[in-house]
Amino acid sequence: MGHVDRAREFVRDESRTKWHDESLWFVRAKRDEAADTVPDWEALRDEAATIKRDALSRLPDLWRQFETAATEAGAVVHWARDAEEHNQIVLNLLEERGFRRVVKSKSMLTEECGLNPFLEARGIEIIDTDLGERIVQLRNERPSHIVMPAIHLKRSEVGKLFEKEMGAPVGLDDPDALTALARQDLRKRFLAAEAGITGVNFAVAETGSFVVVTNEGNADLGTALPSLHIACVGLEKIIPAPGDLAPFLRLLARSATGQPISAYTSHFRGPREAEDIESPAPAMHIVIVDNGRSDLLAQPSFRDALACIRCGACLNTCPVYRRSGGHSYGTTIPGPIGSVLEPSRDPKAHAELPHACTLCGSCTDVCPVRVPLHHQLLTWRAHLAEGGHHPTRRRVAFGLAGRLFAHPRAYEILTKAGRRVARRLPAAWLDRLTSPWTEARTLPPIPARSFREQMRARERQATRGPR
């Protein structure tokens, strides 16, 4: 089941699709309002885009610099070639200390690596503390959006979930009350946690610092109390200097949710100070992860996608995402950026995704770092066709059409005959013949003469002259 089938299912529920579409459009509209308040918005996009491209052109130097500075600050730096290695490193860090209780703030990277099921299978309790992530964790499903994981759910559905999992009274669906229950439950988890895992929004090469951004403060609560902080970061997340954070932080929250800035923008450098009576002593471990990123970097057509700062603006603006939902994509990251990133992992499995798109280009226009998303999706289509991932029937049809269009006489003869037949067929027959189109649309009346034929008639008239 691919995007086509899942999207068809999704769209069947008209009112729910409308609700989902409007919820996401609302966020897009807030982003627009926020952009209005920034007079240098386009210049900022240029700045952020070029800082990222520059960083991507010298990743080895920047990571070496980061490693030195972070180590000097007391952090331990690990390197993971793929998801398995990443998961194993995290597991080792926990097992070495005999830790079994872990809290985690939002990290699409850990989602990508399948960290939760890996740890759970080995007896580690890992609790997602971002409310949206916690909700989907309890429902045993993937987040449907990279910033708003539970955007696909109605409050009553969260209410029912909380009845089951948090002892909520039956029928409770007030978001304040539901959040209060989650607050209570998660507060206990924070206080009991032995380790906190976070993602990284931006790693700063010069100082060995990194920045974690949340609205809930869950990344901070998850790392202020437990003695072990594990920070997981993708190879593409590094920028050169502290001042470079400014354009990104001015763009990120505004692009994501229309806020001027998130509630918590936390800068970490090394483990927190030990307090006299603390044991074990606080430790920070940073896991740098490749998992296909160096492959993408080696592809000029797609390497720009590594500039992505995971704001989600492209999802919010995509008319297809809004009407099909994140789960239709079947990927860790859905929406336009997902459809660019995921096929490089598994072209066969994700060959449909670059076609789940009308190439409208809105995604490219909202991207704070100017990833040319719709152009990359078009490029993917060419790669997938050449790679044999397109259905044969489609290729054959296009092959025939292409040949026809290169022979104007044949084109005219065939289309004239086709129109003649079409005009004589009963409407129902014609509809069936053209059925993928006519499933939902009525064909217009077929003209007796094409433009070419009418042009020729005019010319004949003109040469004959007035009578």
Binding site: V4, D32, S324, A385, F405, E439, T442, P447, F451, R452
Partner: protein, 258 residues
Amino acid sequence: MRVALFVPCYVDQLRPQIGLATLDLLTAAGFEVDFQEEVVCCGQPFLTAGETKRAAALGARFVDAFQNVEAIVTPSGSCAATLRRHLESLVTAPAAASVAAKTFELCEFITKESACPPLSRPFPHRVGLHASCHGLRELGLGTPTETRSATRIDPARELLSRIPELEITSLDRRDECCGFGGTFSVEEAAVSTRMGLDRLEDHGRGGAEIVTSTDVSCLLHLEGLSRRRTLPFEIFHIAEILAASALGHDLRASTEPC
């Protein structure tokens, strides 16, 4: 000035009156118009399907046919966009870049040349203007709602606003995609339909009686959806409306007995 008229395959076959309106407008504006028979298709459907070899072959024909003309005009924003944006990378012939650069969508061209026949006849209708994505974002025919760059005039809107008694109606989502998207319209028919119906609903809320655009593919999609549900819209290409106002063309008279 001599201009070459490029009429895309679906206009040729399904809406020839748009080609005729375009021809007549350009002629009335004082251009000498040549219709080039050798070129059937700009290659866009092949390009968007990932069939780049086919697209390149058709692009090469286009370059061959049009390399010596002064300008190529087409009543299709998406064809013009495909040619301007992609011809050079698809076709190795040295003339490709210059052919691309002199290919224009109709409204864009007559505005650029300040050569529109006077739009004097009143058109007392409420008209919804659908912003074709390719025209907007690839050709720059207007300012996308996403960006905060300097405002760009939308030639289609500008021309419509000159027509007496024509009221351009408003939209909640000014430039959302109609959902055609080429093969998307049949492969992802469900979402495509939903997107098209939402566009029509938006136009309806603004009180549009007529929906128009610079792109026939968008209009065929919207019209097909509208007909199926007998919605109260009439769908015309902008060339048809301009020809009605400038030249007295009868919009609704079918040029052909059906």
